[in-house]
Amino acid sequence: MTLTLSRRRLLEGAITGLLGGMSSGCSQPGSGRSVVVVGAGLSGLNAALILERWGYEVRVIEAKARVGGRLWTLDHMPGSPEGGGNIMGANYGRVFHMAHELNVPLRTPPRTLPADYFIGDQRIARNSWATSSANPLPEAWRTIPPDRLLGKLNITNPLLGTRAWHDPVLMAGDQSAATGLRALDFPDAAIELIGCNNSYGNNLSETSLMTLYRIMGEFARLSGPALSVKEATEGNMRLPEAMAMNLTQPVRKGEPVIAIHQSASLVTVTVESGRTLEADAVVLALPLPALRQIEVTLPSSQQALLENIDYHKVVQLHCIVEEPFWESSGWSGSWWTDGLLGRVFTRPILGTTRHNMTVWINGDDCDALNSLDDATCIETLTQALWKLMPSARDVTSVGQLVRWSTDPYAGGAWALWRPGQAATAHEAIRTPAGRLFFAGEHTAEAYRGMEAAMESGERAALEVMRLLA
C-alpha cells in the first residue's frame, strides 16, 4: 500500500513539476511537495515562510498554545518584559528584515539602569569598584568591573573568522574555561567572579574556552558607535506571531508531536491526539531537550549527541516597581551580585514612573531554585531581594517566575557546547537524516540568539528544497 501510494505521489509530483516547469520556467520547485515543520519558533517559521514562497505545502505544528518558542513576551505585565529572547543584536540582519517586511515596529530598548555590586555581604557603588576594600581582585585587575572581566580574552582571541569557533584544529586546543582562564593568568578572584553570572555555560568546568572567545569576539565586532541593538516595540513575540500569520495554513498549536517515522519516500508525524500527518520532509525546528521526547530514529552518532548537548539554565523573576525607591537611597535599582540573586536588571517603563525589574540567575546556581515549587521559589527570591533592597519591599510586586530548564518544550535557554564538543558535534547535530532536517539556534554557525534561529531556518529550507526540488 505504501509502495503504491509513493509511486502515485511520485508520478503526480513529476507531472505537476513538469507542468509547473512548462508554465513558470521551473520557478516553483515545491509544487506538489509537502513539508511539516515541528516547532513554531523563529527557526521553524522562517523555514516555513521560505518553503511556502517556493511552492511547498507547509504545515507547522507547535506543542505550546502559543508561537514564538523561546521568545516569550510577558504581555500580562506592565511594560511587557521579555521572559525569553530579549535583545536583537545590532547585526541581526534577518531579524530586522523580517520585522520590516511584516510591519513589526522595532525600537532601541529603554536603557537599563547601570548596576551597583553586591559582593559577599557588601554593597559596592559602581563608581567605587576600583577602590573598594570589598573588591576581591588583585591590584592590576581592580579597575575592571565583574561584568567586563571576560573582555580581557580578546587580547588572546585566536578566532579570526565566522567559522573558526568550531574549527577542528583550533578546537583541538580547547579546554574548560576554569582551566583556560587560569592558564591565561586570570587571577582566581577574577575567575570566581566570571563564574558567578556566566551566561555561556552552567559552570566554568563545563564551559568551552573557545565558546567564550567566540562570544567576546562578537562583542568586539559589534562595538562600532553606529550600531544599535533593538527590540520589538510591542514585544519580541510580535515577530513570530506576524510570521505565523503570514503562513497560508495556520500554525497548529497545542499539538505536541510524539513520534516521527520515515520511509524511503514519506515521513509520518504522529501528534499526541493520535492524529498523523504525512509529508515529503520534516523540519525539526525545536530545542534538543524537546526533540528528546519524540520517538524518532536518528543515526546513532546523532542520537548520542542528542543526549549529550547541554542547555543553559536560566531562572528569572519579573517584578514591577511602582516608584524608583533607589533614588533616595543613593544605590542603583540594578545589581550585579555574586550570590543567590545573580543579576538584577531594572529599566523604565516608558511614559510612566514604573520600572520593570528582572532578577536573572544563570547556570548551576539555578539548581536549588529549580528544585522548589513556584511559590517557594518566588518567596526565596523575594526575601533575598528585600534583604538587598529593603526599600523595594513596599513598592515592588512579582509578576512572573520564568524557569526555562523546567519547560518541557525548551529544556533550557540555549544550547551549550562543552569544551571541545563543537569541533564535530556542531555539524553532526544539524546533518539531515534522510527526510528529516534540523533547525534551531543550536544548529546555526554564524550567529547566536534570534538571528541564529533565523539563519538555521534558511539553511534547513535550502536543504529541503535541495532534496525535493
Partner: protein, 125 residues
C-alpha cells in the same frame, strides 16, 4: 493500472521532466538568492533597511562602491572588482577571501549552487 504500465509512465514523466528542466534537484539562482541572500541584500543599487549592501549591477563594479553603505575597511580598501571569479571566491568563503570583512555569513551551498548563484547575481540589474 498494471505496475509495469505505471512504471513506464513514471519513467517517461521523469525523463521529460529532467530533459525540460535542468534544475531537477538543482535550485535556480533566484531560489538560492531568495533563501540564502535576500534577507540581508536587496537587488538594484539603492541601500534600504537591509543590513548588507544592494547587489544589483554587480558585474565589473568596484567592491565597496555603493554610496551611503558603511563597508568594512577590508572591503573598501580591497581594490577588488566583482567578476565571476572574485564573486565565487567571496561567496565560497568570505573570511578566507577577505579577512576582517563585516559579512558574518557561512555559505551552506554546494559548489554547483554557488556557481549558479554567482552567475545569476552578475546578471541582475
Amino acid at each position: 493500472m498494471r505496475p509495469s504500465v505505471y512504471l513506464a509512465y513514471l519513467s517517461m514523466a521523469v525523463t521529460i521532466l529532467i530533459g525540460n528542466c535542468v534544475q531537477a534537484n538543482t535550485l535556480s539562482g533566484e531560489a538560492l538568492y531568495d533563501a540564502a541572500c535576500g534577507a540581508c541584500h536587496s537587488l538594484g543599487t539603492s541601500t534600504d533597511h537591509r543590513i548588507g549592501p544592494p547587489l544589483g549591477t554587480l558585474l565589473n563594479r568596484q567592491a565597496g562602491a555603493i554610496q551611503g553603505y558603511r563597508y568594512s575597511e577590508a572591503l573598501s580598501n580591497s581594490g577588488w572588482t566583482w567578476t565571476l571569479p572574485t564573486l565565487l571566491a567571496w561567496l565560497s568563503d568570505p573570511d578566507a577571501a577577505m579577512p576582517n570583512n563585516a559579512m558574518n555569513y557561512v555559505n551552506h551551498l554546494t559548489a554547483t549552487e554557488t556557481q549558479l548563484l554567482g552567475e545569476w547575481l552578475l546578471q541582475q540589474p
